[in-house]
Symmetry: C2
Subunit: 409 residues, 2 copies
Amino acid sequence: MWPDNEPSLLDRESLDALNERFRESDRAAGIELTPAFRPFTQRNDIFTRAFWDDTVRSAKTDAFFASYRSQFDARKGDGFSQRDFALRNASWSVSSAFSERCAEDGRREGFQAPLDVDVAVSDTRVELADPQAESVEIKRIATLFGADLVSIAEVDLRWHYASRVDTRDMSPADNALPEGVTHVIVMGHAMDADLVETYPSALAGASTGLEYSREAAIVTQLVSYLRGLGFEAVGSMNDTALVIPYALKAGLGEYGRNQMVLTPEFGPRVRFSKVFTNLPLQADTPRSLGIRAYCDTCDVCARACPPKALPDGPPTDVPVNVSTLRGVKKWSANAEKCFGYWASLKTDCAICMRVCPFNRGQTLADRLWFALATGRFRRLARWWADRRGVAKRLKPVDWWARLRAGRRG
Amino acid sequence: MWPDNEPSLLDRESLDALNERFRESDRAAGIELTPAFRPFTQRNDIFTRAFWDDTVRSAKTDAFFASYRSQFDARKGDGFSQRDFALRNASWSVSSAFSERCAEDGRREGFQAPLDVDVAVSDTRVELADPQAESVEIKRIATLFGADLVSIAEVDLRWHYASRVDTRDMSPADNALPEGVTHVIVMGHAMDADLVETYPSALAGASTGLEYSREAAIVTQLVSYLRGLGFEAVGSMNDTALVIPYALKAGLGEYGRNQMVLTPEFGPRVRFSKVFTNLPLQADTPRSLGIRAYCDTCDVCARACPPKALPDGPPTDVPVNVSTLRGVKKWSANAEKCFGYWASLKTDCAICMRVCPFNRGQTLADRLWFALATGRFRRLARWWADRRGVAKRLKPVDWWARLRAGRRG
């Protein structure tokens, strides 16, 4: 079905050059590539496979996607009522408005194509301060637009999809950035803690939808700003490139067993977006926080995963299936099992985010635990976390009761 | 050019019935209608007139609108540099994405037509609690989506545009709501205090753009939620109806000399949006806060207005020009002078918001002043406000310096 000779942004030589150029920073970010590494092709993403790969697609996966388009079937079961689905879908509605507007052209913006912003790059360029000062300023502007975390990395085509897909027929489509784009501004968007506590439920999906909707807005504003300054800018949510290596390179956190970037500020309870630009910026550096070393000793997420989609052993470069990024020694989920569970629920699942010991607040106890968990008293932190027990699910009915009583946010 | 027999949502008899039905609540809200009252026609709105009325339209007004579409001419003068315009336009970009998407059909959403949300009303309706409980819940949901203030009023066609305009040729277009819509959820969106302090400047316009962009997102989400529950919902920004009488009826604040609703929480530093629905709700009631009585004795805004567009005397029902709402005894601005000044600046002006003594924070002194200003020690509050002096403009360069230093928000 697919050409042997796939489109790609990188030939062997360029890939080798990038491996060489970023050797040190890969290591600092905990990214370990093997000679088998090759850039990911978006059509192998589990969500994209659900549209063309009969081993993934089923009546259930079709119903999963349809449920976001208001054909939800409320059912018995706390957290899956009509109100829960209505809130989840409403939360997504801004993101959906952006992703649907060019669907007829085969570009599902923010997912299978960059966000198109109807603002031309200004003919004149502003006078620039030095890259360091511009970097500080652009981060504050992103914060003004609502980003919770902002950091900068150099553009690195190894993390870019070799090709994206045209969503009309799921055929490969060109995924090149404009010429001369050098940096990526990586933004983190914190998710609502109370809603995340209700995973798994349709209600909990509102925490995801709210952030995608915020992302779409913030990315649109940041792209518009950069173009107004006279520079190229390409806005991106899940499209264009893998965000995890970029978030690691930008120093926003460390990669965890639950397949998420664990940040000091929000643990795993954060989503990421990115804006590519040719504004001269200064890249941040990866940070060694000690978070990932805790994951070496902890498998709370893997044990809590109903379909057993998360790995319980050490990192490995053995691919689980075609949705695994090849040639990276890391914890890799079984995306087929994971998404199969989502489809059976008719909503996204992030139990692995809820139960992660790094999913905490900012109380004194939370901060003390973080200090222990990321330092040489890691075993004491393990003991404390075990004693506290795995974070329980907040019952969706209790979330609604809290809402009505005004006891949230 | 316009038919004598204009389209209208209200005949004489229905208008009389509404005047009768809402007599008490009009009075409580400080709304004083005279027999000359008739619903406003959107084509007489100053922004709409700028497209068809040669007494308003000019090269300057065309350049004003064009400046929001990235053809801004940065110029010398603090607050009007390319960065200032870029930030202002970026702030607007989400609102613009919504308002431009159906422009080809003559519907500039959020301004000359309701926001179109691509979600059907659910076939099944959720089981409802009583209207009071549903009202509490829907307010909390609006807050979850990001609204800063939420209140409810009954639908009252007196405040609805007799007709809206088709933006292709500025001809009258039907402005009817779906059958059976009974209530309006009025939301307030606070503006950034520091940015407002920089009025007048292109930079300051970012405070307006950021809120319109937030409004568009929040309204979209609330409409989607109500439809998911199985009820009609129409999302509205500046389109469809005047929001000021609705905000007064919903008890969000009192009408001030500067043509704004002055709220206890944010003074005049707030914008409003609205969602019309047939979900059975309980309307809030107007509140007598004592704010408007302060305006009787204060003309700081009128004195600070460069084009002298604000009234310095008592409320009157004498229309200033065709853009005045007829038959309401109130403070009415000269919208032609006001917008003429905007056009000359190439950006919106809200000096009257910045200098209003009710534009304050929530420090102890601020709250003490508010208590005095709205009680029987009003004269003491006047004296204090005079002594403190009119709030100075924050220089845009200083705003940028604060931003770079991380001293804001």
